[in-house]
Symmetry: C2
Subunit: 250 residues, 2 copies
């Protein structure tokens, strides 16, 4: 058996998320269908670095699967892209050791979140950014980002529905926010992320940007370890799984 790693990108707007579900159009479903076709009907199960929710996009998601076939890398890429729909694309194929696992071996993930910060919506951005019509105090948001960076218990900033057992301590290497024109870009790089963590953090950062909280409030919020103390999760269409890094492979 050969273990194949793929870097894929997808426009999440027409998918019911990553994870396979009966009768829904999902990223995993589309990939496994293409692989099953290539394997003459034999089901091929894929493993991803993690799931993404309905409407969330990916620039460089990583998956792996096992196959009895010996096919050159370029042919895998070509064959899969021929079978996949236009909103799902395999960017890169490589062969990895048996020991590789797309989820367990993640060293670092990067997420980005995009906000369209204008009074009026833009029809071309409705699936690709969160329309936030209020003025944002960028200096305050940037100061708040510094309180989020680092190693913390992120219980306050994860979905109460999260099924994760064990520690909710994670390390964020980078939390930054920049505005270019009408677009606000948040970058999060970290060792791992809890369920809904990026979207909950962005919600709190936008509260800070509106003056509804102070940057230094973040420390107290982290200390609460309770999701109830922070506001709404921002919508999925602004979120992009931007990159996934592995140990020695990259």
């Amino acid at each position: 058996m050969e273990k194949v790693k793929c870097i894929i990108s997808y426009d999440g707007s027409q998918f019911s998320g990553f994870q396979i579900q009966p009768k829904k159009r999902t990223v995993q479903g589309a990939l496994e269908q293409a692989l099953t076709t290539m394997h003459k009907g034999a089901h091929v199960r894929i493993q991803a670095s993690g799931r993404t929710d309905t409407g969330v996009h990916a620039k460089r998601q990583t998956i792996h699967f096992e196959t009895p076939y010996s096919i050159p890398k370029a042919n895998w890429k070509q064959a899969l892209n021929t079978l996949l729909p236009g909103d799902l694309f395999v960017q890169d194929v490589s062969f990895v050791p048996d020991s590789f696992h797309a989820r367990y071996d993640v060293m670092e993930k990067e997420y980005r979140y995009y906000v369209w910060n204008e009074k009026e919506p833009d029809v071309f951005k409705r699936n690709y950014a969160y329309h936030f019509r209020y003025n944002i105090d960028m200096a305050a948001v940037q100061e708040a980002c510094l309180y989020i960076e680092g190693t913390h218990d992120f219980t306050t900033f994860s979905s109460a529905k999260a099924t994760t057992k064990g520690s909710k301590v994670r390390t964020l290497f980078q939390v930054t926010c920049e505005k270019q024109g009408s677009e606000v870009e948040f970058i999060f790089r970290g060792s791992g992320f809890l369920y809904n963590m990026v979207r909950i953090i962005v919600g709190v950062l936008l509260d800070v940007g509106q003056g509804r909280r102070k940057p230094e409030d973040i420390t107290a919020l982290l200390g609460k370890k309770d999701r109830q103390f922070v506001g709404e999760t921002v919508p999925p269409q602004g979120l992009y799984l931007w990159n996934v890094k592995y140990k020695s492979l990259d």
Copy 2:
């Protein structure tokens, strides 16, 4: 009766074109449905500067309609946008004289066409630009643009299916092409456009960009007055109705 002019934008990817059709999701259908709701079930017919095909976008399309209501401009805008779907937005509402007509009074239209010029597709651009993987000789395309600018009989560059009777002479004030990064932008400003004219011209300009035709061939092609002498119509998703200008109103 009051005559109301609206500037609207729409993402054409989920519409079966502008013109109303039974059981299809169209821009005209969505607008007339919203207006009919506002008019308590009385049907309101709209007139547009022109139609756009399935998949074609609009940044500033113009429509007009008549109403017995006296409602302030801002309230029209608010009420319509509340009733319209997210991929169709009313940007501006104004009141116009009885004599105004969105189609007959057009002075100038601007179309833009976007090409994503990379070897590989980008899932986020599949509905918003034409993926053209071959190298483009920009200097040759820019020279060819100069042969298209001006007043010509554009029969060669219009759909054989066109129902237009009368003259196929049109004046193009501007035909330009610029590349920024991986994106090629064509701008067309003219007194009027025949059916499929922009998409047929872009196809010929890309032939020139690939070296399959010479810029100076354009003159002979115009002289043929026959659609059969030029290649394929490029796909709709790269095309944007960018602006419509009227006489004294703007």
